[in-house]
Amino acid sequence: MNISLSITKNIHEWLFSIMPEGIASITEMVLIAVVYLAIFAVAGLYLVLLERKVAAWFQLRIGPNRVGWWGLLQTMADALKLVSKELTGTERADKFLYNLAPYFVIVSSLMALAVFPFSQEFHAFDINIGVLFLMAISSIGVIGILLGGWSSNNKFALIGAMRSGVQTISYELSVGLSLLTMVLVTGSLQLSEIIEVQKNGWLIVQGHIPAVIAFMIYMIAGTAETNRAPFDLVEAESELGAGFHTEYSGMKFAYFFLAEFINMFIIAAIAATIFFGGWLSPFGITESIPLLGVVWFLGKTLVIVFLMMWFRWTFPRLRIDQLLTLEWKYLLPLNLLNLILMALVVWLNLTIQF
């Protein structure tokens, strides 16, 4: 495995100069894990805040504005409140699975976060099967949801969990196939290489028509995979109360909640990396300042996150059969055709290269 821990070479060299090699690399891994955990927590909390602000904007409200300047500490306060809350549970629940479920969800989100190239240097885990790894990891989350719904001994939760299972398994296909379409252009699954290829133009430009189709399919399927509106049947509050996390409270609920937002971030980050060049600046305008890569990456991701929030606050929810019809009758065949189209484009060298 190709683990290149190259956040900053200086820290790396400094650590290795004062410690024996084994301890140094363990320290380094712990350090990186801590950094990523911090990113995870902050990103999750601020995505929640962003969601609330965007929702407020759509809904002619102000949104959180009391805790901290512009409400910036609101979600921190919420998290503190959740930490201090009692962890309730149901009788005759499968206690072990019930307690395990939130960790499945959150760990899978956290693992997926590790492979993203935030910038050229800022890349914890550059694995050669990056895209595949992302797909695999992001589908572990559904196990947590299924476990949580099943083990909480609540029928609403169970219905929610079953819906989630059906939905994620179906839409996983579309996410995978639309990404595979793009892999045809890059010829590599490694995220750093995918970005390297995009120095000749972002993939959505390189692949033109099939790439745009793939992006649209990816956005639909990705929104569905994160269980967000209009595909939020899992926790359709008007139908199932709170869905699979009905019986969770306090920090365990917060794990589900945060993971949902992190998953949204991950879906957006994959889209930014694969379709829009990741940390690359448009036309290489800031290529001389590598640090700005993080800004570009986050900027692109947040635009896509905003798009997903836009979906959520304007669309009604689909019904479960319509959800499955959309996937199996429309998206999947379209996706397969698109894959062939992209193969032709690549084969006939019709990609647009700058």
Binding site: L60, I159, A229, S238, G241, F315, R319, Q322
Partner: protein, 373 residues
């Protein structure tokens, strides 16, 4: 839609689930006992009475002036129309001539109440199908109406503006201007509702062909208001048994023949336009005169039975008073629209999905205190 039969090789088991009394889709404390096979509804049985206050029994000990105030608490979203029903029944029984001014003001406020009720319904309806933003748009416009009410009646929700014999007070000097301002405002905002929700593909798919109620069934189930009219059943009390100033105005009865949830939705949206048109016809022609006629401090109805129906926001509200000549009614029955409309929920929801149940229940526009009188 094309349907295919798939032989079910798996053994499926029906299970039972409690929807409510505390559930977001039941709008209050309605409890639905659902029998479900997977996602498909097999049976819906409403369990009522969680906020039953026995208003009918309370009425038997109260004077007629007091009863008016109890009616506010039935369907609180069309409180003015409920008041009006009792007042009209009492006035007809006493054979009092009500000044034209009172009739016109009652009608204007009644129609404003209807718009307020429908805007709230629209917001909640959107929420039920998952479009959360509608809630805030609906409430934004409803607030403006409530402000008008507040200025004239002193209350926003339970208005108590009607008394037997007329109105509690005259209208506020600003009333006419504010109503006109509101109509001008709402005419620009109502198309926004359509833009956000009505035209949405997902919404259309969720509503079309869902919860179908035929005209025969609608009549048999005693459906009234937009629920009945969505099935092509002309049941507008304002048309067939006009009361107050409604015989002086021109308006179209909103009718759809499809009988599905979308039809009921469209009827309500059109009704908002029609209500605006009624208000516009009346607002400039409020006749001068008294705002009430004096009645005895103790109203005694003659011996007999009196029935008054009005078109409340949710349908036909009936007030049935049996009087023995004393100052209290011997028996008072409210025929509430929600009660009859709820009785057809099982009929339209069976065979659909859980999501369909929620969508069709939203188009029935159930207000639980109206059912649990």
């Amino acid at each position: 839609m094309e349907t295919t039969t798939i032989t079910n090789n798996f053994k499926s088991e029906e299970y039972f689930i409690n929807m409510g009394p505390q559930h977001p889709a039941t709008h209050g404390v309605l409890r639905l006992l659902l029998t479900i096979d997977g996602e498909i509804i097999k049976k819906v049985e409403p369990d009522l009475g969680y906020i039953h206050r026995s208003i009918e029994k309370m009425c038997e000990r109260d004077s007629y002036q007091q009863i008016v105030h109890l009616t506010d608490r039935m369907d609180y979203l069309s409180s003015h129309i409920n008041n009006e029903a009792v007042c009209l029944a009492v006035e007809n029984a006493l054979e009092i001539d009500i000044p034209e001014r009172v009739k016109v003001i009652r009608t204007i406020i009644g129609e404003l109440t209807r718009i307020a009720s429908h805007t709230l319904w629209w917001g909640v309806m959107g929420m039920d199908v998952g479009a959360l933003t509608t809630y805030f748009l609906g409430f934004r416009d409803r607030e403006l109406i409530n402000d008008i009410f507040e200025e004239t009646c002193g209350a926003r929700l339970t208005m108590n503006y009607n008394i037997p014999g007329g109105l509690m007070y005259d209208i506020h000097p600003n009333f006419i201007k504010r109503v006109k301002d509101f109509i001008a405002h709402f005419k620009t905002k109502l198309p926004e509702y359509d833009k956000l929700l009505t035209g949405n593909v997902i919404f259309q798919k969720r509503m079309k062909g869902v919860g179908i109620l035929t005209k025969e069934d609608a009549i048999s189930f005693g459906a009234s208001g937009p629920v009945g009219r969505g099935s092509g059943y002309s049941c507008d009390v304002r048309k067939h048994h006009a009361y107050s100033a409604l015989d002086k105005v021109n308006f179209k009865e909103a009718l759809r023949t499809e009988g599905d949830s979308l039809a009921r939705y469209e009827v309500r949206v059109q009704e908002m336009w029609e209500s605006m048109s009624i208000i516009e016809q009346l607002i400039d022609n409020i006749p001068e005169g008294d705002y009430k006629v004096a009645t005895n401090a103790v109203i005694k109805l003659p011996k007999g039975e009196f029935y008054q129906k009005v078109e409340a926001a949710r349908g036909e509200l009936g007030v049935y008073i049996v009087s023995t000549g004393t100052k209290n009614p011997y028996r008072l029955k409210f025929r509430s629209p929600g009660f009859s409309n709820l009785s057809l929920l099982n009929h339209i929801a069976v065979g659909g999905k859980i999501g369909d149940l929620v969508a069709s229940m939203a188009t029935l526009d159930i207000v639980v205190p109206d059912i649990d009188r």
